[in-house]
Symmetry: C2
Subunit: 747 residues, 2 copies
């Protein structure tokens, strides 16, 4: 048990040789990053302003030592003194009084060192961080991260500058601790179905640091309403064999499906005199999670030579199939040490407001703080957790596999107790050309093995996408073909869309905060618009990604100023995402997931696919997505965004009930609002709809009158509950005919 | 070390309760099966004649006890007596003098029991086999095998009657053995490339049964030419740490790629007095096998939303990519105890004659005898070894996973030392609807884990087909669409065709050996034609599968008698298979494998997709396949089999060099032989072609003259080496026009 905790005061310096710790000592903050300490000391401007980040490039190649000194703590004979490093970014040597006590590599794995025997009256703790790992010196790109478990994105991405953090990203403290304590105390369970009832077979996974002989363990379980379920006492040996069966436990459910019931498991470790040496507590949500085959997937393929059916990607929780709606998470900060528990909670809260029940923790980022997962447990948001691989060809080498194993096991053991953890995944797009890994890659076979050994009842995906799933596109309109996402998704037949994107610019006030005044208008190459991903971020999509200036103007006409451009871009993002989320949901149960790329961003982007601008500013698209992700809603399939006067506007009508209860949609009306006119399109007696089902209504069509304005609106309204109502904005241009009036020129 | 071996004389009886061993004792043969013993004792007709197999149905539900008695062997103080069960089919209790010494389940795992301490002057060994495992009592189908590792096919298949063997399928003997012996002595290696040279890092994996303290191990390695490479001596503890590096070892290659070089590794276990306690020997072929991405696979898919690229299925041996040609193996006998080492060798020899370099050991069958794998090592035939899962939904239950783990680990450890073992695979068509397993199935995640833990340098597939690969069709002409396999495969774009079939009837003499005289002609339902799979075997393909009488007659006209039908059917099988094998090879490197379904059969089929009739009779198609599987050959793509006079016959010309050397094809001529006429189609200077490559030649076409007979031939000839020549038979019918002579009626 931790008796007292010592929070240190830190300094740091950089040096060029690992063992030659010599340099200018400056004040350091832990958690933090050496780059932040250096900039603070030298009073540099914010790293996120303009092109400031370029000044940090040299730092990634230095050794950085954190130093603190502390007086010998008063320890009685049975006490120990531990140094605990919560999170290291990324590799370090730990020395106390010059003696090397640990040589550590790894982002997710904490380090605890018993320093009792090396303590002196005055002590010096040095933590020397190595230069960032690089698979090769040149070129300077994300491939340099391919032989380590350091989060990949900081090596440079289309929404992340090349700025690779070095530091202690979590707390580093001294603990005065009892002679023996729990290094692990975890309730594990197997949730079995017997005659459609559940029973949870529970046991404790326990490990004691220190002598365990003669110690006593006390284990209790409390129900969600605080009632005692059981109470056991015995030796450590006995405790390891305890098995308790809970008949029909109260289950944990994702949001909109039931309550987020959690039991409380408590362990107490005492010596033979009854002195409590350690206590642990765990919130336990009982749930069974599976990935099952999508609706109709077994019927395909249906011709010879016949390949396999698509892989299962429908989440089933406690026997109930769900449509997974959500987003992809990237780091909230370039420097993970800046992320507080409050920021983590705020992030989850925004995802909740967006209607999401699933978040994909993308493999290019690192593990979150506990507070993130705890909040997901509380709010009923499922977590798709990836291991730290993304868009690289991670090698079969024993050196890499060793560190990967350490990090993966550490992540699984830290997180598997959270009921929100629904899925382990090897990492991002590893089975695509830009990564170059495949089913035979040892890293992915190892991860499957580890996930199976450590948490076999949680599904595992080697990567996303697997067969059947789709990623992309990353634009509202394909610049080559001119096809918009309404058309593309309405003819797509994938099992899940776990990345798709429509970019939008940041708010004007945000843009002004990091783009120098003289670079603000017009957006152009060679300015902060470029370094902040507004232009040229991913040329394979469009030269003007992510601003997509040309696309915006193609819908709204030439933007006259920054305010207009931002307003139009944000509307287009809202419109595009609304349609994709809804189209995916209309395809249920053949399609079972929709997660846009991406939710947040690690620094201010001028334009980005994110729904939140850094640090946590909601773009208008977040509200549009929240509307599209209501558990129950009316929805219309319209197969394109841009229309022409005189054209026959067509739509298909759907009722979607992804809630846990029967929902009555009653009588539904579709109305086209063209200027001040309301043109009725169709009426449909949608009626009551079972939980977890869709209903397809009739088609409707109407000829767009010659006076249709540039924008018009489709409304879909329930007579019995306006909560299900929906509306869509479309664009129109006048029909242009040739001089004879016969041939349409803009068809 | 085995000092002497005691071959027992056996009896057996059946009984209805496990512990009530009472019944008529009859002579039994081991290896064998109780069904064979019973039939022999009762002088039944051969089980494979007519419908005799039906008389065996009751036997699967009985307990059967094998019994032998033996006198106490003379043992000196340090010796032990072991009972060794080489292979049990499928679950048994072993009792010596009434004491239960083993309770075993599993087909592939041998059992060794030390009985020293229970020996009496006269001993009785009882091996009680349990009734066959059944997941459910009804219906009587292959799904009953879904909770065990018993080979699935004997539960009934479209080429296997419902006749489920019970017995000791391998030798069961008594061994007088030394006090300590090797339970494992295995050379393991990691073949690394350093600057394009190979080095093999070798170590011994050793386990000693008995006391190992004070014992000495002597390890030697000899090169393929008998030279000593190294010679080590030390304690058991030391021996476990020995690592030896061979620089540039002579490599083992598949046939047509190089020699099948094998080193000899020897271990000797001695006591401190120098007495040899045990010896082991192993043939070691150094090779590196990988599954790599097919040619062009990374370029696909190329549209948004974008899924993953197809899975790798190109075998790469020692850095060289190969086209895998071969066949699927099923059991050679219904009763595996009938398979001798000679039969195993003969099977591999026939595969060698067929030109094959790869055999798929299909998951519905059991493991082969050592002699099979040894022969594959010698002849350079790669082995795709499946675990015992096929076309069922094997459960996630701990009971099933436990037995699967035991069997899989046993198989891997028995086989991984063979250089021919190129691929582990979970089993057959598990990701298709008729199986119902998927990527999340625990059995397949477990198998991946075990294969990775035990033999990580050999690739693993969860099943076949995986994404990109195709299985089927199983007919020369699709009966619904009328499309033939020439058309179908020439427009297919799969990465591998690891099952495809064209059925053919057995020889007339064979048919007469098991079909009663009065049932021979015409083939009809309700006769041995039906029970022996000639009619109604797989109605989803065709009612008359596998004879495909209607298809045969559609090419050759109505068969007048059995001889004609068999002759025509065998020709059609030859033609169809030739085209599929060659088309697959023409698609190299986008396609990398062709393996027909199937090579052999476990009992006499009236008609079947096999190339060998039971027990080992080559069908004519085997020779046609051998022609199509020559390492180097000329080949022509023709997109259909049946032509009409006046039609423009078209073909595309290819040179295929899948040998290890540059091959000169010189000047190539294509000639159509129409009756006595030779019509030149094209000349092509094909020239020299690099190893492992194809060359596409010109197209040629000619109008089929009005006098084209029912069959005509295409010849493709090399001016410099007739070994590469090829020829194809096609069918022709006269053009039928309407009365005006203008509208073609059979187009």
């Amino acid at each position: 048990m931790v008796i007292t905790t010592n929070h240190f005061i830190w300094t740091c310096c950089f040096h060029s040789k690992e063992n030659d710790i010599n340099g200018e000592w400056i004040a350091a903050e832990v958690p933090g990053a050496v780059q932040l300490d250096y900039a603070r000391h030298h009073k540099w401007p914010d790293y996120w302003y303009g092109d400031e980040f370029r000044n940090y490039e040299w730092m990634e190649n230095q050794y950085w030592t954190y130093r603190t000194t502390f007086t010998r703590p008063l320890l009685n004979k049975s006490e120990r003194y531990l140094i605990h490093l919560g999170g290291v970014d990324y590799a370090c040597l730990v020395r106390v009084n010059g003696v090397v006590l640990a040589d550590h590599e790894g982002y997710a794995t904490p380090v605890t060192i018993d320093v009792t025997t090396v303590l002196q009256d005055e002590n010096c703790l040095d933590i020397t961080l190595r230069p960032i790992p690089k698979a090769y010196p040149e070129p300077v790109d994300r491939g340099q991260a391919a032989e380590s478990c350091k989060p990949t994105c900081s090596y440079g991405w289309d929404w992340h500058p090349r700025l690779v953090p070095i530091g202690l990203w979590k707390e580093c403290v001294g603990h005065k601790a009892s002679a023996s304590f729990f290094s692990q105390a975890e309730l594990r369970y197997d949730l079995q179905t017997v005659d459609s009832h559940y029973k949870a077979v529970c046991y404790s996974e326990l490990a004691i640091d220190g002598e365990s002989e003669g110690l006593v363990i006390h284990w209790t379980l409390e129900s969600p309403d605080g009632a005692f379920i059981f109470d056991k006492i015995g030796t450590v040996q006995e405790a390891r064999k305890w098995v308790s069966t809970l008949e029909q436990p109260e289950l944990w459910w994702p949001r909109d499906q039931g309550s987020q019931a959690c039991y409380k498991s408590c362990w107490k470790l005492s010596d033979s005199n009854g002195h409590v040496l350690d206590r642990r507590e765990q919130q336990v949500g009982f749930r069974r999670v599976r990935l099952v085959m999508n609706g109709g997937a077994w019927d395909k393929p249906d011709v010879f030579p016949k390949s396999r059916s698509d892989a299962p990607i429908t989440l089933e929780i406690n026997g109930r199939r769900l449509f997974g709606m959500g987003s992809n998470l990237v780091p909230s900060e370039i420097f993970p040490g800046l992320v507080t528990d409050e920021r983590e909670q705020q992030l989850v809260d925004s995802a909740f407001q967006a209607g999401f029940n699933l978040l994909r923790l993308w493999g290019g980022a690192g593990i979150h703080r506990d507070a993130f997962y705890e909040r997901c447990d509380e709010l009923g948001i499922l977590v798709w957790q990836e291991f730290p691989l993304a868009c690289n060809n991670y090698p079969d080498s024993p050196e890499y596999l060793d560190i990967l194993q350490q990090e993966a096991v550490s992540m699984i053991r830290q997180l598997r107790g959270h009921p929100s953890i629904a899925l382990w995944c090897g990492g991002n797009e590893l089975f695509n050309a830009w990564s170059g890994m495949d089913d035979q890659s040892h890293a992915l076979r190892l991860l499957n093995s580890l996930a199976f050994a450590e948490d076999k009842n949680t599904p595992f995906l080697p990567t996303a996408p697997v067969v059947g799933m789709g990623h992309g596109p990353y634009a509202c309109v394909d610049t080559a073909s001119g096809e918009d996402v309404l058309s593309l998704f309405s003819r797509s037949t994938h099992t899940a869309y776990t990345e798709f994107a429509v970019p939008g610019p940041a708010a004007v006030s945000t843009l002004k905060s990091f783009i120098p005044q003289d670079e603000l208008w017009p957006p152009r190459i060679g300015t902060a618009w470029e370094t902040h991903h507004g232009i040229g971020a991913l040329p394979s999509i469009a030269v003007d990604s992510w601003l997509m200036h040309a696309t915006i103007d193609s819908f709204f006409g030439t933007s006259q100023n920054l305010d207009e451009l931002v307003a139009h871009g944000q509307i287009l993002q809202s419109i595009g995402l609304q349609h994709i989320f809804e189209e995916s949901r209309r395809q249920w149960p053949a399609c079972s997931m929709a997660m846009n790329w991406c939710f947040n961003e690690p620094w201010p982007s001028a334009a980005n696919n994110s729904l939140l601008s850094w640090p946590h500013e909601e773009k208008p698209a977040l509200q549009a997505v929240a509307q599209a992700c209501r558990a129950s809603l009316l929805s219309a399939r319209v197969r394109k965004l841009k229309w022409t006067t005189g054209e026959q506007f067509m739509c298909e009508c759907f009722a979607i009930n992804h809630s846990a209860e029967t929902t009555d949609f009653g009588l539904v009306d579709l109305v086209l609002c063209i200027g001040a006119k309301e043109i009725p399109l169709l009426s449909w007696q949608a009626g009551a709809l079972q939980a977890g089902t869709n209903k397809i209504g009739p088609h409707g069509s109407v000829c767009l009158p010659p006076d249709t304005p540039k924008q018009f609106t489709l409304h879909i309204r329930s007579a019995c509950n306006s909560d299900y109502n929906n509306s869509y904005t479309f664009f129109c241009e006048p029909k242009i005919v040739d001089e004879n009036g016969s041939r349409e020129l803009n068809a």
